[in-house]
Symmetry: C2
Subunit: 332 residues, 2 copies
DNA sequence: ATGAAAGCGCTAACAT
DNA sequence: ATGTTAGCGCTTTCAT
């Protein structure tokens, strides 16, 4: 079945193809009668504009990209990604853009792939989840000229970033643990590259703990369930278990809970455990998880709006960090 | 910065633009010397073909679509979606296609959106997760002429489906529960529409239970954590708790575990709990979850290969159901 | 083995 | 208010 083109509609309505185009693009100075005739021809022929032709002629790209890290199933299946993807897709579609996906890693090939898609006009911009992005990679990407908005990353302008008030969230969390009598806090987070919010949260953690006069330590962990479990097991094996373990995300907190169960530790009796994100499933853990809620979906929508503005040549204002909130449940 | 076109490369190499095109598309009858010259011009000018122009001229679409259900965070954040999306993306990119995403629901708008994208030549085909697809929706989609491959759905040809051996998996699972002394099994699954694998698994469940001579019942649940929790709570409230609860997926099993904890039931002592999927996080539940592993990623790759073949005008053979395997852990 | 001409479906610029 | 001409960047067809 060969689909109708502008010309077919024009012939059917007895006007020039340009008039049809004008009607479609809402141009002024079209006689109502003509407009009516064109519109009825359009629906009679079930005409739909060819986006490829439009894109070529207008020299603009109608696909944007969502890039995130993770090849292993554990990282891939982080609910975080899904929520963000859904929000980005909805926002992009609402503005007439399609959203493609890219999965990055720390090798050269995945970045090269993204660059190819940019140079071939397949994608016009990208929202990148920054949590695992390394400084060198960021520099490469910016050197291409691709419009990029970073989620969960904090870099000075001219970078475009959307982030949450992790500093405030961490301060509230530490205060909560201390108010419950905890005096020896361990935070599991990746070491973090320049601009990473992990770095910022770690700093906020130490500041807050120091202000409260309690012991604070940092344990390295790469966001996975396994990392949370390992952290607790190693601290326990070293005979230096803290009285509160702060997971840098809900997955690591889940792993920590699991390790506590296996070691026969009671939570929160022997060890308080908290997370960061507030994903759905943490209400179904045992015990239910105390965590910091981060408005990932709203942040993603803002990032997409920002990207679309950039793509349209605007210079949108940097959004303020999004407020987070402490959700107290049973684990801490 | 304006990017190089075929003409620019041609001028730089001192040949016609057509010759450059021939070199790029690996046409025969190009003198090695010419070819060399063209290639060096290409890299000198950092030329990259414009996909929009190519797509227009070749009248083909280079973007495929991944469509799945779910607007609520619980469904959205099912790890299932992520694993499948990553596999589909990798396979699509490997074949030179981009992958867009669509989120469907049971309203008319989301399907209309998909249809628009098809008619506007934005997407050339789709892989759809069938678990929540209704018969009426499926009929609408097929009426368009869009190439579609269904994941986790079972419809007779000419539908294209990729599925797993759920029947065999269910039989093995029931046999396992019975071998551990269970005599009263409850399965939580949606009621399921025509072609849904939920329907097939439910049938297999009753057949297997009957063959073993044990009691079997079906409880309605919509794949969410909340549904699993509700199932256990309601059975318990009714004073007719089974001795094994089979979650139709890992999320519902997780919810069931949570309910058991809150009701003070020991697992697997008072109640055995099993899942279906084998996602990463079920190893971190307490107790660890006995489940049936489904090779979602491999199935997704096969679905994408199938779709790409369809898009290329081939008539690929229907793949056999993928084998599943019982993973015994602590919960059953 | 290479070049010239035509046109995919659309919009921008100009003419009427 | 509408029609005509030109061309986005590429590939297909046909000449040379």
């Amino acid at each position: 079945m060969t689909r109708a083109t502008l010309k077919d509609v024009a012939a059917h309505a007895g006007v020039s193809h340009q008039t049809v185009s004008n009607v479609l693009n809402g141009h002024p100075s079209i006689r109502p009668a003509t407009r009516e005739r064109v519109l009825s021809s359009i629906s009679a022929l079930d005409y739909h504009p060819n986006q490829a032709a439009k894109a070529l002629r207008e020299a603009r790209v109608t696909t944007l990209c969502f890039a995130s890290f993770g090849h292993d199933p554990d990282t891939l299946s982080d609910p975080y990604r899904n929520l963000i993807q859904a929000a980005l897709t909805a926002e992009a579609n609402a503005h007439g853009y399609s959203l493609a996906t890219a999965f990055l890693d720390h090798g050269a090939a995945s970045l090269e792939d993204l660059r190819q898609r940019y140079l071939q006009r397949v994608i016009g911009g990208a929202v990148i989840i920054g949590t695992q992005l390394r400084a060198a990679q960021w520099e490469r990407i910016t050197s291409w000229g691709l419009n990029v908005v970073l989620l969960d990353h904090l870099l000075p302008a001219p970078a475009h970033t959307v982030s949450a008030d992790y500093r405030g969230g961490m301060a509230a969390l530490v205060a909560h643990h201390v108010s419950r009598g905890r005096r020896d806090l361990a935070l599991v987070l990746p070491t973090g590259d320049y601009g990473s919010t992990a770095m910022m949260r770690r700093d906020a953690f130490f500041e807050a703990a120091q202000a409260c006069g309690v012991r604070a330590r940092h344990v390295d962990g790469d966001w996975t369930y396994a990392a949370g479990e390992r952290a607790v097991r190693e601290l326990h094996a070293a005979g230096d278990l803290p009285d509160a373990l702060l997971g840098g995300n809900d997955r690591m907190a889940t792993g920590a809970l699991s390790a506590a169960h296996r070691l026969g530790l009671s939570v929160p009796g022997d060890l308080a455990v908290s997370g960061f994100d507030d994903f759905d499933f943490v209400q179904y853990l045992h015990p239910t998880l105390t965590t910091v809620r981060v408005p990932h979906a709203e942040m993603a929508r803002e990032a997409m709006r920002h990207l679309i503005a950039l793509t349209g040549g605007e210079a949108p204002q940097a959004p303020a960090p999004y407020p987070v909130s402490l959700i107290v449940r049973d684990s801490a």
